[in-house]
């Protein structure tokens, strides 16, 4: 606000009007991105400074700091205003997303300042996910860099439709029109397919303020708007209310037995009492009874409002369900194709089980296929077996349950998801649904007359997987063999899946990389599941070094159908035994990715049975396991066992 406006504000009537206008101002969220030293932080500092949002004490503190850390000589270094964290202040670079707020007479703004650093691209995607517009900075001296292409690609990937190309530091190129026009032409060539609805190029100098808030005489050849003029006037299509009704249920509101409401934010469309709505997953429908809020019931609610709905009928609805319009339903499937940005140091391995959070729903899932990876610099499609940090790909996901979704392009709330690690709980990646995969909806389970229970009953046993895990040479196969012999002598029906044997046939196409190990275990887990279905006691003897895959196998099977047996042997003992001479070859480097030597073994945290092979002979161990099976009801209890 300028001085005159302030005096007016002191007049109460004018104040009330000012507040009313402030309330009615629209909000524009945008992000700034560019390469290291393009001047992003300086530009935001300039915006805050020019719109009078820097307070005196903050300014004094920057002046003090400018002398200590500043990179602009005696001038005030405006970047110091926004570079918040101490570590980065000392390095002179932004390392995280910072949010800043400013207001002009026409609009309110939230700015996400995102890093130019290559390794922090994930933060840029974070900033972009909540923005309507992107200001892409280009250093006029350097032109378009690899990172400019990368950032533009991510901006388009996250569905941002409005872009400002800010050609900064034009003062250092003598305010040259030619330089500006060449950069704009270069940019338009590669950004042609990005689907930007508006692309405004502006020559400016953040340091001196040319064309930021005020028009610059030195750039009189430029006839377009200044940065602030453009930000104030650009039309952002935010009208989600015209799309079909969607509400993701966050919380079931049940203060007492007489009230049952469903709370959530309307992600698109409108709703009013009497409207027929449908639970997308179950297909059950009912009519809206009331739209309840703290301030009383509403006659109508719109996209963006957080409300609680009550319905006429008692139908089963819980957190994560989607309420939708009856005539325009979202897709419901347990498989979809999506674009995925990987954000973790830990690689994405297809087949490995992760969690997917979409809306208010969190389900187990895995990537079944990486269709192709996109090189973010050249935009070329390349084949990939795994994804590393900051890589982007089109992938297929399979989920353990069906979920309701819309393509991200149509509805961000309904098509965006994050990928979470089940063990560490870290966020590993972010995805955007393209479309469901029809296969899942068309292949139905065959209902069979003879089922697992019938088959198992005929054999007088409870089918189960005995999963032996441990280092190579620990004695897994020896013990598993003995257990199988004992079970056979007790007239039980068994099958033993041995790591080495399966690799000769079913899995002979697989090697020993992490990705292949995951696939190896996935196939064995699926086979053992079929065998359990056949009513068999199935013994699996595999090193199976990763917790995540053993957990996946456990979850594939029913409760109590999976018994994890940890054959525990210290590495030194296994290496000393070295029955197959493998450790010696691994030590010389002849065998790569050898568990315990050059590839990790993650010991089980809560196995059902632990066998300490340094204390127990294989014979005693086998007896211990059969005893476990008897006492846990896996073998018919009316037979007297002598083992």
């Amino acid at each position: 606000m300028n001085a005159i406006a302030m005096e007016e504000a002191l007049d109460t009537k004018a104040l009330v009007e000012y507040l009313a206008s402030h309330e009615q101002k629209s909000l524009l969220r945008f992000l700034t991105c560019g390469s290291v030293d393009d001047g992003k932080s300086t530009l935001i500092g300039r915006l805050l400074y020019d719109t009078k949002l820097i307070f005196e004490d903050q300014l004094a503190s920057i002046e003090k700091d400018s002398k200590k850390h500043g990179t602009v000589g005696d001038d005030i270094d405006l970047a110091l205003l926004v570079d918040g964290l101490q570590a980065e202040r000392e390095q002179g670079i932004t390392i995280d997303v910072a949010y800043r707020f400013f207001t002009t007479d026409k609009r309110k703004f939230i700015v996400a300042d995102t890093p130019g650093h290559e390794q922090y691209t994930r933060n840029m995607a974070t900033g972009a996910s909540n923005s309507d517009l992107a200001v892409i900075l280009i250093d006029a001296r350097k032109g378009i860099l690899t990172q400019t292409r990368r950032h533009s690609f991510i901006v388009s990937l996250l569905g941002i439709k409005h872009v400002v190309l800010a050609v900064n530091k034009i003062d250092l190129m003598d305010y040259s029109q030619d330089v500006f026009e060449k950069i704009v032409a270069d940019y338009k060539t590669f950004a042609a397919d990005f689907g930007f609805e508006t692309l405004q190029a502006i020559p400016l100098s953040a340091r001196y303020g040319d064309n930021v808030l005020t028009r610059s005489e030195k750039l009189d050849w430029y006839k377009g708007p200044t940065l602030v003029e453009h930000l104030e006037s650009v039309q952002i299509d935010q009208d989600q209310s015209e799309k079909p009704f969607r509400l993701q249920v966050q919380w079931v509101n049940r203060p007492d037995l007489n009230f049952r409401g469903f709370s959530g934010t309307i992600s698109s469309g409108t709703v009013k009492p009497g409207d027929e709505v449908l639970v997308a997953g179950s297909g059950k429908s009912s009519k809206v009874k009331a739209i309840v809020t703290y301030d009383g019931d509403l006659a109508r609610a719109f996209a963006g409002q957080a409300v609680t709905l009550t319905l006429e009928d008692e139908i089963d609805i819980s957190r994560g369900d989607v309420l939708c319009a009856i005539d325009a339903r979202p897709e419901v499937s347990d498989q979809f194709q999506a674009r995925l940005i990987w954000m973790s140091e830990q690689d994405l391995i297809p087949g490995r089980t992760v969690l997917v959070k979409i809306g208010a729903r969190t389900v187990s899932a895995s990537v079944t296929e990486i269709k192709y990876q996109t090189d973010v610099n050249t935009f070329a499609h390349i084949a990939a077996k795994t994804l590393k940090l900051n890589e982007v790909a089109v992938v297929n996901f399979a989920l353990q349950e069906t979920v309701a979704f819309d393509p991200y392009a149509e509805n961000h709330d309904m098509g965006a998801f994050i990928v979470i690690d089940r063990v560490s709980n870290l966020t590993l990646g972010a995805g955007m649904v393209d479309h469901g995969l029809r296969r899942a909806t068309n292949v139905h389970w065959q209902a069979l007359d003879v089922n697992k229970a019938t088959r198992a009953g005929a054999k007088g046993q409870k089918p189960v997987v005995l999963w032996f895990t441990g280092l190579s040479g620990a004695g897994k196969s020896t013990i598993a063999n003995l257990v199988e012999k004992k079970l056979l002598s007790l007239n039980h029906h068994t099958y033993l899946l041995d790591g080495d044997n399966v690799r000769h046939g079913l899995n002979k196409d697989l090697g020993f990389t992490d990705a292949d190990r995951v696939e190896n275990i996935r196939r064995v887990a699926e086979v053992s599941k079929l065998m359990v279905d056949a009513g068999l006691i199935t013994l699996v003897s595999f090193i199976s070094p990763f917790r995540a895959e053993r957990q996946m196998a456990r979850e594939l099977l029913g409760p109590s159908e999976f018994v994890e047996i940890y054959v525990s042997t210290p590495l030194s003992v296994a290496e000393q035994r070295d029955v197959k001479g493998l450790y010696a070859r691994a030590r010389t480097g002849e065998i790569k990715n050898f568990t315990g030597i050059s590839s990790p073994y993650e010991f089980p945290e809560n196995p059902e049975v632990i066998v300490e092979t340094t204390e127990t002979s294989p014979e005693v161990a086998a007896t211990q396991i059969v005893n476990f099976m008897i006492s846990n009801g896996y073998l018919d209890s009316d037979i007297e066992y002598i083992i």
Partner: protein
């Protein structure tokens, strides 16, 4: 807020009695209506809060029927930790940061709402809305979970917790405007009134009770003052003002050229002081 209530076993809302807390409480009432907010509220009492704050707190809890927990670092009280003998840094550490950690651990809270806003201070501008804390309540600004769209990763292991800042994207103006619009009750200290104050280091400190040691030559005088932010009275400076209605406060704020936290003496202790406090577990 609904995400937190749905995903965590034992959440708590920190209630500091200030204007931001009042707004946050009001939002909680709205989010869960007609239910009451399904979690307790907790006030970390340093024993040096303004008397009027405690009175307001108790009235609010009674009026709304809230489950309010008040926690004080008992060890600090035994050792008579105070801002004068120990300095504001040590005092804040023991009576606020340690006290908060104690309370969170003692009650086993796995999520705690706080009223911090990104526009308050530079290191707060980079906070997530869901901010992960280790089992020791530490914050690592370099290793934050990416936060995309409105999808919050709320998963924690036993002992770990999440701090949640629902007002992250609100500005000071938004707060005041919302208070005005929704007629939210706030502590009377925000309104100007004749109050006993002494001048120290260019700032007005209110003599809220007899525990404030007066320096030689200091005589409390009556001045019309109000507070832009509320904390411990010896560490919170007042501003001279005649503004005794919400409208006049907002008008004063619009012409103010000093940011609101400048009245907080603890922020000036050393460079990067807020960030350091946060890494140690301060809100």
């Amino acid at each position: 807020m609904r995400e937190v209530a749905a995903e965590f076993k034992n959440p708590v809302m920190l209630y500091s009695i200030g204007k931001d807390s009042s707004v946050m409480l009001h939002l909680a009432l709205k989010a869960f209506a007609p239910s009451k907010p399904p979690f307790p509220f907790m006030h970390v009492n340093t024993t040096w809060k303004f008397g009027e704050m405690i009175k307001f707190r108790d009235e609010t809890a009674a009026r709304l029927g809230l489950n309010l927990i008040s926690h004080t670092n008992a060890e600090g009280v035994v050792n008579n930790v105070n801002p004068f003998d120990h300095g504001s840094n040590v005092f804040t550490n023991i009576m606020k940061t340690d006290a908060l950690k104690q309370a969170l651990t003692e009650h086993g809270f796995d999520a705690a709402f706080g009223g911090a806003r990104r526009d308050e201070e530079k290191s707060r501008a980079k906070e997530r809305i869901f901010s992960f804390r280790t089992a020791n309540h530490g914050w690592d600004p370099k290793n934050q979970r990416p936060e995309l769209w409105n999808l919050y990763n709320a998963r924690v292991k036993p002992g770990e917790s999440i701090r949640v800042f629902p007002l992250s994207n609100w500005t000071e103006l938004d707060i005041w405007q919302y208070i005005l619009l929704e007629k939210i009750p706030i502590v009377p200290l925000y309104f100007a009134k004749m109050r006993p104050v002494v001048q120290r280091g260019g700032q007005w400190i209110m003599v809220d009770d007899e525990r404030l040691p007066l320096n030689p030559g200091e005589v409390p005088e009556m001045k019309s003052v109000r507070f832009r932010t509320l904390g411990d009275y010896p560490l919170t400076a007042a501003v001279e003002s005649e503004a005794d209605t919400l409208e006049t406060i907002v008008a004063e704020m619009l012409v103010a050229r000093t940011s609101e936290r400048s009245g907080r003496l603890i922020d000036h202790d050393e460079a990067g002081s807020m960030e350091k406090k946060k890494r140690e577990g301060y809100f």
